[in-house]
Amino acid sequence: MNESDTYTTGSPYAPHTDDGRTAMLEAIGVDSVDELFDIPEAVRFTDGFGIDARSERETRRLVRSVLDRNADLTELLGRGHYGYYIPSLVDHLADRSEFLTSYTQYQPEVSQGFLQALFEYQSLLVELTGLEIANCSMYDAATALGEAATLAERVRSTSGHRVLVPDLLRDGRRSTLENYVAGTDLTVESYPTDDGTVDVDALESTVDEGDDVVMVYAENPTVRGTIEEQLESIGEVADGADALFVLGSDPVALSLLQRPADVGADVVIGDASVLGLPTSYGMGLGLFACREEFLRQVPGRLVGVSEDATDRRAFTLTLQTREQHIRRERATSNICTNQAWVALRTAMHAASLGPNGMVDLAKRGVTRADELAARLDDLDGVQAPVHDRHHIREFVARVDQPAPAIAEDLEKRGFAVHVVGEHEIQVCVAGVPDDDLDDFVAAMTEVVR
């Protein structure tokens, strides 16, 4: 064992000297630390967990060796979660330890930097959605959708209880929503889609089956990568039923696609971590923006502007009387720890791109998806895209052979794609370099041969 492999007995992060410990025990008036544990004999634990301590070097080696079991694949995966390139600026600055090692900003006088960064994040979302209010994070899109439903229940005093979601919705999102509404009177129901987008007539009949709809949810783009063309009509149907129109999207799509406020959206949710986070096995950042009239019903934290005692502009958490630590069981949400540092990363990434970069990234999502679809469509045994729609970032392709076999074969060649039907795969260009797309087309050519 070389020197850097040595470790102290006990926690290496508890810096007590023997003399210090003795002096402290004396000051307290006890002979040993054991005396400080006021635990009845019957529930004392003395067995040990059976977890070996390791040096820092050994621990790094352990984690690396475990994670090295992950295959190194080119991911053409999306469906709401994207692996865009993240500028180095984001890692280096977000990793400054003041950002990383601070707590929720309960003492704003020593938290101005984080509060301002979160205020800038909120402002980014306000610009992207056109809605007046954005909070400074929920956990992810699925939990933000759940919070939107409970908001709908709070702001509509009708006897409504139906929450309508498209039948094209990720299972995890729908299931999370159902857990969020389990303790309320709300029920979740699907409405039909057609050719990858909302079937507005079918939505209208679903709404008309009762007069008790409190929320209509739609996504733009949809989980299949199609761009929704009838947002305004969907908004009108929701409005006609006196229901909230909740739209799911993300910051890259919002840079280019119709502004939610312009199509009547009352709430926008989604995953903002498309900027700022690597794919991270699904870790997210719940985007939540809404109209001003819901201000006092908004879930989550809000950063606002105020002045300090010298009349200078200063930032602070505000309207905390909505929050669990003050309002307890009457709070608008139980959220406490949220995703503040991810919001910081997202704001940094967006700032790094700037408005031209954001719009450009979104436009390239459209053109590159189109180009890849055309190249795949040229292969025998592949039709792409399946939906006769505009797409952004991703699309569904029909394959003559069974889709799981195609995906498995592609994986052996180093590519990951979604299987979304017996004969349907979904591929995504976001974050995938052009060279890798060329290699992918070559692999597909082999696989479908």
């Binding site: 979660h81 006088e109 857990n179 919002l254 406490c336």
Partner: protein, 499 residues
């Protein structure tokens, strides 16, 4: 639009452009907003739009800054933040302790960045790490099964409540509609129970700050779904009657829920599972030193006894029957039989879980046990050194002092002037003007002495001094009332005011 406020004025007094950490003031601002530096509006329809106009927005207006400008902006912002790396951070119940730096490196390994829709075969490393962390947490909590999905402690509470509901429903006991919560509990407990659709039955403390058994007896009934408890409680006191409490709850058919916020005090000394708790959450960002990130991300894994395992969120990770050619175990996802489904779109905050795994693997039995021993030593030592009244005791990891005639919030502001972060204030409410203090194991005697000196200096100061505090921080006392009375929540609202 360009709104450049950083122009160089040669007549400016040099003292006003000092890049000093405490106060960089530019036109009445500590640091201009990005939008005040430079904004650009992009016309979407112009030029090469690949979409018809009616499917796109008209324009997008956001800051357009160079990388050096952004680097300075965010560096400036970071200099206006107090973190655990800046100094002591004794926020009661928040467990702010030092985060080892190497855990950031392992979480940033390229092999950790996998898409959640990857095939199980291609992410055996991720699944193995999750499996091993489930195992670690199960051993530490004395629990039979663990889910890692909840993305924060409150989300873990929600899983606990949903699992309890599903369990009762499954047993034909769906009528149970009450959750009992001690008055001193974390605010999230109440909000979570309400979100789960339960009526909250509030439980008063007895004279020594613990659960009042008579009051508990009165609160329990055939309608009790669960009792949510933390042990040691938020006063830092161990609930010595825990076995009796568990029996009482179980006798009426209720479940006992453990709020893991205070687990740092117990590592290796006692386990919730052994105390009779049926379900618990772990705040891995507290107990296992993963950075709090200015308010997240955290992670709130949930452990349960075997009876409740079938109700845990889906999917979970288990060892598969197959082995690799080299004899390594393989792992797979599965849905528990009566699962409540998802509580997060995917599998929670993966990167936080990687850090927690690395921390536990680094410390092992000895390190974890030592951490809690020193956390308890530190709390008791600090309590013995401060001149404010400290009712109750003996303490575990945290204690609640009373600021007495002083306003606890003012005390906190004044402590900032002494260069230390203050404790949690005004809570729990059973102690008047509460100063809830948790130094954790990471502070040395010297630091604790400095902390005590700050408490004791403030204790001697007048209300006038306290009301003016802080005066040595970046920003001075901030007007909370005006922030709430006329909410301005984005730079758009500031721009409107200017015009």
């Amino acid at each position: 639009m360009s709104n450049d406020q950083t122009t160089n004025d040669p007549t400016t007094d040099a003292s006003q452009v000092r890049y000093d950490q405490a106060r960089y003031v530019n036109d009445g601002q500590y640091e201009p907003l990005l939008s005040e530096k430079d904004q650009t509006s992009v016309d979407i329809g112009a030029g090469d739009s690949p979409l018809p106009d009616d499917l796109t927005r008209d324009d997008l207006e956001l800051p357009e800054l160079s990388e050096p400008e952004l680097a300075r902006h965010y560096t400036r912002l970071s200099q206006m933040i107090y973190g655990i790396d800046s100094g002591p951070y004794p926020l009661g119940s928040c467990t702010m302790k030092y985060n080892p730096k190497f855990t950031e490196d392992v979480a940033a390994l390229p092999s950790a960045a996998v898409h959640p829709d990857r095939s199980e075969e291609s992410i055996q490393g991720t699944l193995e790490l999750l499996y091993r962390l489930q195992d670690y947490l199960g051993r530490i909590g004395g629990m039979d099964a663990v889910t890692l999905q909840p993305p924060a402690g409150a989300a873990g509470e929600f899983v606990g409540i949903r699992v309890a509901a599903a369990y009762h429903e499954h047993n034909g006991e769906g009528h149970r509609d009450e959750v009992i919560i001690p008055e001193s509990a974390h605010g999230t407990n109440f909000a979570t129970a309400a979100l789960g659709g339960y009526d909250v039955v509030s439980l008063p403390s007895d004279e020594d700050g613990r659960v009042d058994l008579d009051a508990l007896e009165a609160a329990l009934s055939e309608n009790t779904a669960a009792l949510m408890l933390t042990n040691p409680n938020t006063l830092g006191l161990f609930e010595r009657d825990i076995e009796e409490i568990a029996d009482m709850v179980h006798d009426v058919g209720g479940l006992l829920y453990y709020d893991g916020a205070n687990l740092n005090a117990l590592l290796g000394r006692a386990r919730p599972g052994d105390m009779g708790f049926d379900v618990m959450h772990y705040n891995v960002h507290k107990t296992f030193a993963t950075p709090h990130g200015g308010g997240g991300p955290g992670a709130g894994p949930v452990g349960v006894v075997a009876e409740l395992e079938p109700f845990l969120p889906a999917p979970r990770v288990r060892e598969a029957d197959a082995e690799t050619n080299s004899g390594q175990a393989t792992y797979e996802l599965f849905d528990p039989d009566h699962t409540i489904g998802n509580v997060h779109g995917f599998q929670g905050n993966w990167l936080v879980l990687v850090k927690a795994f690395a921390y536990i693997a680094r410390l092992g039995d000895e390190g974890l046990t030592d951490a809690s021993a020193k956390a308890v030593l530190n709390a008791n030592y600090l309590a013995s050194q401060i001149e404010y009244d400290v009712p109750y005791g003996p303490f575990h990891h945290e204690f609640v002092a009373s600021a007495g005639d002083q306003d606890a919030a003012d005390v906190a502001k004044r402590m900032l002037d002494y260069g230390v972060h203050p404790p949690t204030t005004k809570w729990p409410e059973i102690v008047p003007e509460a100063l809830m203090t948790e130094p954790t194991e990471i502070e040395s005697k010297d630091t604790l002495d400095r902390l005590a000196a700050a408490f004791n200096a403030v204790a001697q100061e007048s209300d006038e001094v306290l009301e003016d505090a802080p005066e040595r921080t970046t920003a001075r006392r901030i007007d909370q009332t005006s922030a709430a009375r006329s909410p301005r929540l984005s730079w758009h609202e500031l721009a409107e005011e200017d015009t």
